[in-house]
Amino acid sequence: MCLTMTPRNLSLRLVAVATLLLALDGCVNLDDAAGLSKLSDEARISLPRVSNDVAGTCARQNILFENTPSAERPPNEQAQDCKPYREIADHLAKDENVLADYFDALGKLASNQPMGYDATIETNVAATGANSALSANAIAAGNDAQSILKSLADAATKGYREKQLGQLIQQTDPAIQSLTQSLKKVITVNYATLLSNEELSLDTFYQGPMASAQPNERLALILVQRQYAQDKTALQSRKDDIAAYGKIMDDIAALHTKLKQEADKKASIVEICKQVRPIVLSLKAALADIQSRSK
């Protein structure tokens, strides 16, 4: 067996390896494999667009309420107080940010860059503190987010590098699984109820006056019908966002499970690329889906 290699043979081998890596979408480390940093950037844009609407739906319902003539509603009836919903939306945005921070940190570790999270971690941990006015799912999400932040703080303090990546993934997996499922439930179940309320508000706002329209109000009726249809379309688009959000959370959980499995097996980068690629593509599509609807 020949143990020495001529410079020409070595160059050929390097070219062959580089070609293989390029064929695998440029996978040279885990960050390339899973596109962790890019995913984290996309998540920071798309996820709050959905969760912010926990407060948005309250504001829209109040507009409908205020535009209902006072003679058509009980005098003691008040518009909703949207402050608690804004607090919940802020809380969810912080939890989503932790998720994005985490994947960004994985990306940095994977490409052996320093994490540099010390400054933000303290603030975020304090900001996600318990809020008794939240649903159980929102509270669970907050606790998981804190646990992930503590792991990140620990990793930053101990100066983790690429070789400790598997350790971090294994350590945070239960919290990632729990956080993604809690966020999914807050949006697909709790927030979905708020949107159902908004749909009822819309129906109540438009259908009554439309049903009592006089024959000489024909043209005005057509305009109102169009506005109603437009509002219903916007509502449907928000319902579609709920489905996409649920899929994103499932995909993030599946991606992390896969990364953990590959870390357990000490798999090669090429193998990790192969394993996570379908999930990453699905995740990118769902994130883009939300962004395309919000344009």
């Binding site: 926990v54 309250c58 319902q61 309420f65 209902t68 003539p69 003679a71 058509e72 509603r73 009980p74 003691n76 009836e77 909703q80 608690p84 919903y85 919940i88 008794s132 006015a133 939240l134 649903s135 159980a136 799912n137 929102a138 509270i139 439930k185 179940v189 709790n190 927030y191 109820t193 708020l194 159902s196 309320n197 009822l200 508000s201 129906d203 109540t204 259908q207 009554g208 006056p209 049903a211 009592s212």
Partner: protein, 152 residues
Amino acid sequence: MKTKTPAAKTPTPVPQASTTLSDDQMQALAQSFHDIAVEIGQVRLNAITAGSKLTDPAIVQLQGYVYSLMNVAAGFAMQAANLTLANADQAVNQISLATKAADGALEKLQNIDKAVSIASSVIVLAMAISTKDPGQIESAAKSVAKSAGLAI
């Protein structure tokens, strides 16, 4: 040797265990109140289609109930995580039976006064839940069932 027989103890009442409602139970309550709001909205719309005015007192009252029930549903869905009830499962059962009866009765209802009566009893039930008093919840749940025509 004589053995002492223990003195007969007077039975002490066993305190009812308080349980915090699970998120699924909270969501089920939210859904029930939302569904009733939808049915009341439909009764209101049917009445308007049949010729009632938007400003008729009963129509205005139904509109108010729709708002109130939606607020109750939203509260259960997103905020009130700390609802702890004595005999929670039993209470949730009573509420569930009552709200199902109300939902079912409203579905085919044409009589607007009857709808007002059912809706008002459901609002009282929502207020009873917020007091966390099992007695009030049971009594309010019975009233809902009664106004919906269910004998319990």
